[in-house]
């Protein structure tokens, strides 16, 4: 696993897609401390201030028929990591969101490039870890681990756990 840190990026998915196009190794991870224009599905913006965890993974190429499982697997791993580290009870809103107490704590966006076969897959995860406060329009629908736990969490440790977990899970389905 190679992790590339950036103090800020427009979007970690955009950066990871660029890297995928030039052919970096699978499991290259792009992390940004904040995103200027982080986005989720259909380019809906993802609130990405400093404190949160924003990262994208260049995945190994998968079969077209396996693509649909990538996002769900990632949601499962994010929920599992939250549960095991913090003893919280996350809920997966299929296929791509993770909720805590009914509010969104994480979102996943997988972006693929497909011709006759899959050319590249990039999986982006936005996890509200140490986000202190959300803008008014998001207060009712978004939360963070810090808000739920009342303390800070270690971002770097979480990235490593999630990527490692996903790697193991993907190995299982490809076997």
């Amino acid at each position: 696993m190679q992790i590339r840190y950036f103090s800020q990026l427009k979007s970690t998915n955009l950066k990871a897609k660029e890297l995928a196009k030039i052919g970096v190794k699978p499991w290259t991870v792009v992390v940004a401390e904040k995103q200027i224009s982080g986005y989720g599905k259909e380019k809906a913006s993802w609130f990405s201030p400093k404190g949160g965890l924003y990262f994208s993974i260049v995945l190994p190429k998968s079969k077209i028929e396996d693509l649909q499982t990538l996002t769900i697997l990632a949601a499962f791993i994010v929920a599992k990591t939250i549960k095991e580290n913090f003893f919280l009870e996350p809920l997966i809103k299929l296929p791509n969101d993770v909720l805590l107490n009914g509010k969104k704590v994480a979102g996943i966006l997988t972006e693929n490039i497909i011709g006759k076969d899959v050319k590249s897959s990039v999986l982006g995860i936005g996890l509200n870890t140490n986000v202190e406060k959300f803008p008014k329009e998001l207060e009712k629908t978004a939360t963070s681990l810090k808000i739920e736990l009342g303390r800070k969490v270690a971002n770097v440790k979480l990235v490593k756990q999630i990527v490692q977990g996903l790697k193991e899970q993907l190995k299982t389905i490809s076997e």
Partner: protein
């Protein structure tokens, strides 16, 4: 694969194509010669007459595939979120032609070949199935 082979003073046009996994057709100056793999994996010449029905089916599949390259089909089921080409536009291999959303994933569909967009078969927000034609090329 096409090539020219010069033997003495004469140059021969040679085209080699694989009709199935086991049969290879070598066309020399418009005459076809067939080769097949025997049970030991060795390539041996075979008579045209010995090519059975199964092989003919495979040959028609080859032709179908050549035609299919003139169409860009949806590799997955989903909703068309954008069409990124216009009629009469020239495409290069690798160029993005459309975005499909499936299972909340964004899928950039690219053209594998070069060509000119003859017809766009789908509209934005339309649902498509895997295998549906998105764009016809000429």
């Amino acid at each position: 694969m096409r090539t020219k082979i010069k033997i003495g003073e004469k140059t021969y046009d040679v085209e080699i194509s694989e009709t199935t996994e086991n049969f290879i057709r070598v066309r020399i100056e418009d005459k076809d010669y067939f080769f097949a793999k025997n049970e030991f994996g060795e390539i041996i010449p075979v008579e045209k007459e010995s090519i059975d029905f199964g092989v003919l089916t495979k040959e028609s599949e080859v032709i179908w595939e050549t035609l299919a390259e003139k169409e860009i089909k949806s590799p997955i089921a989903g909703t068309v979120s954008s069409i990124d080409v216009k009629k009469d536009q020239t495409l290069r291999p690798g160029q993005k032609v459309a975005t499909l959303i499936a299972m909340k994933m964004e899928n950039e569909i690219i053209s594998e070949t070069s060509g000119i967009v003859k017809e766009i078969k789908v509209k934005e927000n339309q649902s498509v199935n895997s295998g549906d034609v998105l764009i016809v090329l000429e």
